[in-house]
Amino acid sequence: MTYKVIGKRVRRVEDPRLLTGGALFVGDVNLPDMLHAAFVRSDYAHAKIISIDTSSAKEIPGVVGVYTAEDMGEAWEPGPPLVSPPPSLEGVTFNSCRQVPLVKDKVKHAGEIIAVVVAESRYIAEDAVEEVYVDYEPLPAVTDLEKCLEPGHTLVHDELDSNLAAHLVQNKGDYEAAKKEADLVIKRKFKLDRGAAAAMENRGIVVDWDQKNQHLMVWDATQSPIPIRNGLAGRLGLRTHQVRVVAPFVGGGFGPKIMMFYAEEMVLPWLTMKLNRPVKWIEDRKENFYATTQEREQVQEVEMALSKEGRILGIRQNIIHDTGAYDPYGLTIPLNTQSHSMGPYDIKNYSSELSVVFTNKIITTPVRGAGRPQGIYIVERMLDIACRELELDSRDVRRLNFIKPDQFPYDHEIIDQAFTNLVFDSGNYQPAYDKAIEKIEYDKFINEDQPRLRAEGKYVGIGVVPFIETTGVGPYEGARVAIEPSGKISAATGVGTQGQSHMTSFAQIIAEQLSVEVEDISLVSGDTAEIHWGTGTFASRGAVVAGNAVLAAASDVRKKVLKLASKILETPEDELELEGGQVRVADIPDKSISLGELAVLANPFRGAVEPGTEPGLESTKYFGPAYGATAFGVHGMILEVDPETMMIKIHKYVTVEDCGTMLNPLVVEGQIHGGVSMGIGNAYYEKLHFDENGQLQNASLADYLIVGATEMPHIEVYHQNTPAPNNKLGTKGVGEAGAIPVPAAFAQALENALPNYDLEITETPLSPNRLFELLYRQED
């Protein structure tokens, strides 16, 4: 390929519209005659509904209707099971309880929808919401992950005989045997609490049923437009061609915008078809805390067996994972936790029991990291604790245990989130780890800086944590690439954008194949009218799965170009070259033809295309990997803590990332920066506080603390490239990487900063208040 643009720091083609206020977000869609919806949500986490009085709400001028589950009649139907495990999986208990559009009998979490108001304006709709009177019979709330499994405990789902949503045991080797060999066995209990994705754009959906064309138009701030289209068609008894779902610019996803179906996504299409008018609902920030899925809540008991040299002989783990009130997302998060609980280490014996429980809290589905941070947190914390007991340098112990380059592909002999064997495709861990140690100047810090600063009364500490990230899972994605008569390229893929720069990095792949400028390529992502098949943007898979589909389609178009050009220029294909939108004969520059002219010739108006050839210079291809690509990284931080005020300042932050081939380093760095900011939130700022009655106590950005510019350190990003062997581009995902190791590195640094407090951290997120309790509990 003469023209190289993959791997260049190309500035984004999507930016001018976003920077001038010209990009379309769902909230910007305003249609003539449009109605506005607002929802009546339960104040109670768990309660029987005795009666709903909508009469006075209906009286309010401007209110078009107020509807409850009863009004939906036949259309009332729970959401689909999104990813429940295949029956083929042995020894798995799974009780599928799916979320409902409007609650019929019993509310199962605060914020669940009881009724919907439709009015001429959002203001009026919210007036009416306050006039809907619901009579509840409050029930005790199920909130404690451990207690909720005790016999006789209140049930979230009365049809089940316990609050157990799922149960599964994964074994590798023989942990009990390994334990007998061990010189040291440590056991700890971990508490990992809830956080919110808190994308700056809340969710939203605008629906418009066209009676005459029998067509449903949907604008949805979703990460998965195609499955939404398919699901809606099914629910509404329509053909897929009767439903078009557009995910325009989406203001951040981070996981929860994958979830389907949200109750609102089930209710609004029903409303527009019933009322024959467009209907709009934009989630407000308070609803976002009550209605949008969350993550990370687990309680774990972990045992680690080691030799006196620090070799990890085995890990035993008992995970209780909170799925919230329903479990549409199956086992994805906890399976990821298991997949990451052995970290980047060669561990022969692993035994993990997983119990997923229902609680009267908001549903949990993947949030940037999706179970991975919990796995990395426990294995890295256990290693730090073990190293203290064995009086070994934790750096040597990590190096000793890393999976070695010649061990790849490394089969972990357990199943991953895709229900296939967990196999690490490739990796080269120690050089990246050593690079991080070098860049953060570990030895200088320990030998010079820390003693000096401590003498000045400053409490500074260092933490360095390696991690893996399973990325690029299937099933598949597709892409369409076409050369237009203008010579410009149009392309489409099903993975929408929530900021991942698809319109640029995918264009780079095409540009390289067809030797055109990135600006000449217009890529549509997230419009079901442009491509029929696909799943969505999640699990750090865009660059891997969609990226390689784009490559396949583009190189196929290149083939078609060369084939046609060789016929027209009467020159063998291998003597042709593409450059600047032209196909030329290698050594005869003026013997050439433009891509545009070729596109016209490929679509004749008279005559016939040759048998066996398709019209147009266009191709649609799909890519589905056998198993994912495993990325690797190391994060290190130096922080200072004031043990009087519990205030923290991170002075230095270093990351080394190995995500294989980088399509656009600028974009990769941006992804890492953002991930780290969420990780710092998960470490010290962001916690959703539920009380024992299932009431969320900080449903606002004033009390749920997203990390701001003043809390963020400057981040140094370094790269290592171990290309993924199982895809042509060699890409591995990086979207979630930044968030994964931060709480573990933070805990290590904090303990290192406060040696004289015998501080052992086994929970995240921490907070000044919690740190105060940990440091001063002895004195109480």
């Binding site: 519209r17 206020g21 977000f25 203001y123 992804q671 606002s700």
Partner: protein, 157 residues
């Protein structure tokens, strides 16, 4: 309640006369009333900064102001800053440094920075962090935004 208000206001240099319900938030008036949807709404309680606009040249939260309160005054939104073909140096710098990902918080950050950069032509990193501390961004970790502001400062001098 029958309760309307005759509002005269200048937005991005154009003067408008609109009848509004007094409780209409300025953010909603700009977006739905005038179709200037570049101003985004992220929290409606004055924390996230996405809805920041310039009121008589000063950055304010448009979700914490009622439309009638801008009677006879001047508003500037991101739409007034530059166009796709003719972007403001600050916008160019944001593109150059990849200072936006999803782009939802970006308009509020641009409007916050515009007057600030005029008062602080040579800002340090810490000053920039403080300057945007009233604007939340979930995508960038702020670092590329800081790079962009430094770049813009150079180019605007």
């Amino acid at each position: 309640m029958d309760n309307t208000y005759e509002l005269n206001v200048t937005v991005n240099g154009t003067s408008y006369q609109e009848t509004v319900d007094p409780r209409t938030l300025l953010s909603d008036f700009l977006r739905d009333g005038l179709g200037l949807t570049g101003t985004h709404v992220g929290c409606e309680h004055g924390v996230c900064g996405a809805c920041t606009v310039l009121l008589n040249g000063e950055p304010v939260r448009s979700c914490l102001i009622f439309a009638p309160q801008v009677q006879g005054q001047e508003i500037m939104t991101v739409e007034g800053l530059g166009t796709v073909d003719d972007m403001h140096p600050l916008q160019e710098a944001f593109r150059e440094a990849h200072a936006l990902q999803c782009g939802f918080c970006t308009p509020g950050i641009l409007t916050t920075l515009l007057p600030w950069l005029e008062e602080n032509p040579n800002p340090t990193e810490d000053e920039i962090r403080e300057a945007i501390s009233g604007n939340l961004c979930r995508c960038t970790g702020y670092q590329h935004i800081i790079d962009a502001v430094k770049l813009a400062a150079e180019q605007m001098n």
